[in-house]
């Protein structure tokens, strides 16, 4: 046993993030840490890497009890971490990023040529042959990730390597490359802790897994002995029927025939070719297409975030010109952005303040919303969306990704829009939260709201939408009514071929 954590407890003001969690790692294994967002995975990792101090329990590394006061101590003890966002310095060279803090020195000065040579060897071990004196940010994210791993494993005494969502920004072949590296390290007897939202990847690479839920340990399993469905139900603590119900539900929903918005030949050069699109009340319209196919651009035109240079837009049958998102908001259109971290959520504000933001902006700053009214509204949406923890005065940055997404949704829902545009609401959040957000979308549409749903996941688009707009190369190529004979393959075909001359 290389690592043994027993009864780990970590309390943040008002929340118990980890409650008596046991965790162990064997040398030469790949161990997946599974759980929904907010289950305590990140907290456990931060405890292990010395970022957080623990409030209870003990950690034994290679048989000795340890207590880390910072990342440096953990690293020196042999625990290295590669984080989700590559935590390196983009302005330094590849070699420096691998060695900074422990550069080889001669006569008290950094031995640059030796450092480059060793960087080269250490990357060669990962099958990577690149110019190590080039600046890190001149390379792709995948390579940066490899560099991070090279840094993490070059210490020499690495006993535990933690990979926190390393695959979230890699493409398939890059993931394979990473897995090859992981297997090689495993053969070198390194214990690898692997966190990923992609179940397939976990099943491909992990030997064992530990499941957490709401800060508690659910259990430790051998991957081979735990079917995927069971894993999911252990993670979310309920079965998947709920998910399947949505599907039935959405498809049967009646279509109302009031047009909310109608785009005729709307387009913007360099961003998206002119398109026609009508969205009715109570309708969920899915936008499908590859990354960069113009999904977000289309949504931004409808919301007035970009100015169209051709075509026209009718709202409620009368022509409308949006000069800014404000204009669109006054017409009852809301847009929940794709980048919740950079464009949506304001981490330093509380849940209540974040939710109230858009409504307040719509009213104008001279007419503040009374605090009582705020509390009522926020309370209602926190309950309706099951935002956890259900405390409106908590800072949003302390919430997990899925809950942040819900806060963002609540912000727009509170303005009672007639058309809600949601861009990638489920990216980077876990199965349970995904299901909840999907259910919510279906419910909203039942209530008469029109929803434009942008997502990279075809399954999700299929499950929710009444009709699907397929985009390809910044052009709306086809509109599909979501009947039973439409499936992912059919959409893939359109995306791939781009024929079927429906909408030009």
């Amino acid at each position: 046993m290389v690592l043994q954590m027993t009864g780990i407890r970590k309390v943040f003001p008002g929340v118990v993030a980890l409650d008596g969690v046991d965790f162990r790692l064997l040398p030469g294994e790949i161990h997946a840490l599974m759980g929904e967002n907010g289950a305590g995975k990140s907290t456990l990792i931060k405890v292990l890497t010395g970022v957080y101090d623990i409030d209870g329990g003990q950690i034994e590394l290679a048989g000795e009890q340890v207590r880390f006061t910072g990342p440096l101590q953990a690293q020196q003890a042999g625990i290295s971490t590669v984080y989700q966002e590559v935590n390196l310095c983009p302005n330094l060279s590849v070699a420096e990023n691998i060695f900074i803090g422990r550069e080889p020195r001669r006569f008290g000065r950094i031995h640059w040529s030796e450092m480059r040579k060793r960087a080269h060897t250490s990357l060669a071990r990962l099958d990577l042959d690149i110019d190590v004196s080039a600046q890190l940010d001149s390379y792709s994210l995948a390579i940066q990730q490899m560099v991070a791993i090279a840094r993490a494993t070059d210490v020499g005494n690495t006993k535990v390597l933690i990979l926190d969502e390393p695959t979230s920004s890699l493409d398939a072949s890059e993931v394979e490359q990473l897995f090859a590296v992981m297997r090689r390290l495993k053969d070198e007897n390194v214990a690898i802790l692997f966190v990923s939202h992609f179940l397939d990847q976990v099943y491909e690479i992990a030997d064992r897994m530990t499941v957490l839920r709401n800060g508690r340990l659910i259990g430790e399993y051998r991957t081979a002995e735990l079917p995927q469905m069971q894993l999911v139900s252990k993670m979310i603590g309920k079965d998947l029927e709920a998910l399947e119900q949505i599907e039935e539900h959405a498809r049967e929903a009646p279509r109302q025939e009031t047009k909310i918005i109608e785009a005729k030949g709307l387009g913007r050069t360099g961003s998206i070719a002119p398109f026609d699109l009508t969205i009715h009340a109570g309708e969920v319209v899915g936008l499908a297409g590859l990354l960069g196919s113009g999904r977000t651009e289309l949504a931004r035109l409808l919301f007035g975030a970009d100015r169209p240079d051709s075509g026209e837009l009718d709202v409620d049958g009368t022509p409308a010109k949006f000069h800014s998102p404000r204009d669109a908001m006054t017409k009852g259109i809301a847009f929940s952005s794709e980048n919740r971290r950079t464009e949506g959520i304001i981490g330093e504000l509380t849940v209540r303040e974040n939710i109230i933001l858009a409504l307040q902006a719509a009213r104008g700053w001279t007419r503040p919303i009374p605090r009582r009214r705020q509390d009522e509204l926020v309370d209602k949406y926190v309950k309706a969306l099951q935002i956890r923890p259900a405390d409106p005065e908590r800072l949003v940055r302390d919430l997990s990704g899925g809950n942040q997404q819900k806060v963002l949704l609540a912000r727009w829902l509170i303005t009672e829009p007639r058309l809600l545009i949601i861009d990638e609401p489920t990216r980077g959040i876990d199965v349970g939260a995904k299901a909840e957000i999907q259910r919510l979308v279906a419910e909203l549409a039942d209530g008469g709201m029109a929803v434009l749903f942008v997502s990279a996941e075809l399954e999700e688009v299929l499950r929710l939408s009444h009709k699907i707009e397929v985009l390809r190369d910044r052009r709306l190529v086809e509109e599909l009514v979501n009947t039973d004979d439409v499936d992912a393959d059919r959409i893939m075909q359109t995306i791939a071929s781009g024929t079927t001359g429906a909408t030009p």
């Binding site: 690293q75 390196l88 310095c89 900074i100 060669a124 297997r183 053969d187």
Partner: protein, 339 residues
């Protein structure tokens, strides 16, 4: 399971342009090169237009007149490389000169006054560094407070200009290193050059130096990579404080006086020199050599305006303003292209 006995087939993930280590204008070097070009152009214009501009002493005088600024700007370079700023340096110069002059007037020996003077800025810098690190105060605010403190203290000590008549000080001020007839540099220049060379070596060859770049690149990452972020940051402000004090001592050699209104706005000159020298204001990129070029640009503008004769000295400010704009835009363009 991977068969470890098979030799790994190396994969080229990115085409390397031609042979290894071919010099292509690194984006990091562009701002420095631009400053160099600017400097050469300015000098050529000067030599072409004005009689006597080509004398070696004209260039050396730029150094003689700006040695203290050079020292201060070197400290500022360190601070800006970490992504911070130090607004206190001008006031520290005033405090250093005032304290030194007052103590010398009271008859203290130079051997005591000199280290004491150097200690003033160092201690203030250490204090500001600690406040910035431990209380997570924005460097702008912390050093603004330091600036008011230092300036206020020096005004409290004496509001008038105090002449320095101490023998040691006078000797230092008059010391000249002559190369040829009428070609010389002052002691200040020698000290400044030593500071520049040491600072450049430390940045390029030591862990401390590389940590400064790492913090400027991404302080959060640097912390997670296990680098001593706090220690480095405090050291950087301490160093800048020391440089400011040393600058103050050089200034008191240069002017043979201590005055609480010395060095007003000098912090802005130092920042301007650093930025024109190609150091990125957000940190993480730039060289001490660039700062030297930046100081020379500022000095050369003054020289040209003096040679022109009929221009108001405020033109210096106007030209510096235009250059600053140009260089900040240039930095933007370069960093954007790199992305």
């Amino acid at each position: 399971m991977i068969d470890v006995t098979t030799p790994p087939t190396p994969q080229r993930n990115r085409p390397l342009l031609g042979a290894k280590r071919v010099y292509k204008a690194n984006t990091k070097h562009i701002p420095v090169l631009a400053t160099l070009v600017l400097l050469v152009v300015m000098y050529s214009v000067g030599v072409y237009n004005y009689d006597g501009f080509g004398d070696t002493q004209v260039v050396l005088n730029v150094f003689v007149d700006n040695a203290f600024l050079l020292v201060v700007a070197v400290g500022m370079t360190y601070v800006i490389l970490t992504g911070g700023i130090d607004l206190s340096v001008g006031a520290v110069i005033a405090l250093t000169t005032t304290v030194a002059a007052t103590l010398l007037e009271a008859g203290w020996p130079a051997g005591v006054v000199l280290p004491l003077a150097l200690l003033i800025g160092t201690v203030l810098g250490l204090g500001m560094g600690c406040v910035i690190h431990f209380f997570k105060v924005e460097p702008f605010i912390a050093t603004l407070a330091g600036m008011f403190l230092a300036r206020g203290l020096s005004l409290l000590i004496n509001r008038n200009s105090i002449p320095i008549t101490n023998d040691f000080w006078t000797q230092m001020a008059q010391k000249r290193f002559r190369f040829d007839d009428g070609v010389f540099i002052s002691l200040n220049v020698v000290i400044a050059v030593i500071v520049v060379v040491l600072a450049a070596l430390v940045l390029a060859w030591t862990r401390f130096g590389r940590n400064i770049y790492a913090i400027g690149g991404n302080a959060d990452s640097a912390l997670l990579m296990g680098l001593p972020v706090g220690r480095t940051r405090i050291a950087v402000y301490t160093f800048s404080g020391f440089c400011a004090s040393l600058g103050g001592v050089l200034y008191s050699f240069y002017t043979s006086s201590g005055y609480s209104l010395h060095g007003q706005g000098l912090e802005l000159d130092a920042i301007a020199a650093v930025v024109i020298g190609g150091v990125l204001l957000t940190g993480g990129s730039g060289y001490v050599l660039g700062t030297v070029l930046g100081v020379l640009v500022l000095g050369l503008i003054q020289t040209i305006i003096t040679f022109q004769g009929d221009l108001n000295s405020w033109w210096t400010r106007i030209v510096v303003g235009i250059l600053l704009f140009a260089f900040i835009v240039l930095q933007r363009l370069v960093t954007r292209k790199a992305k």
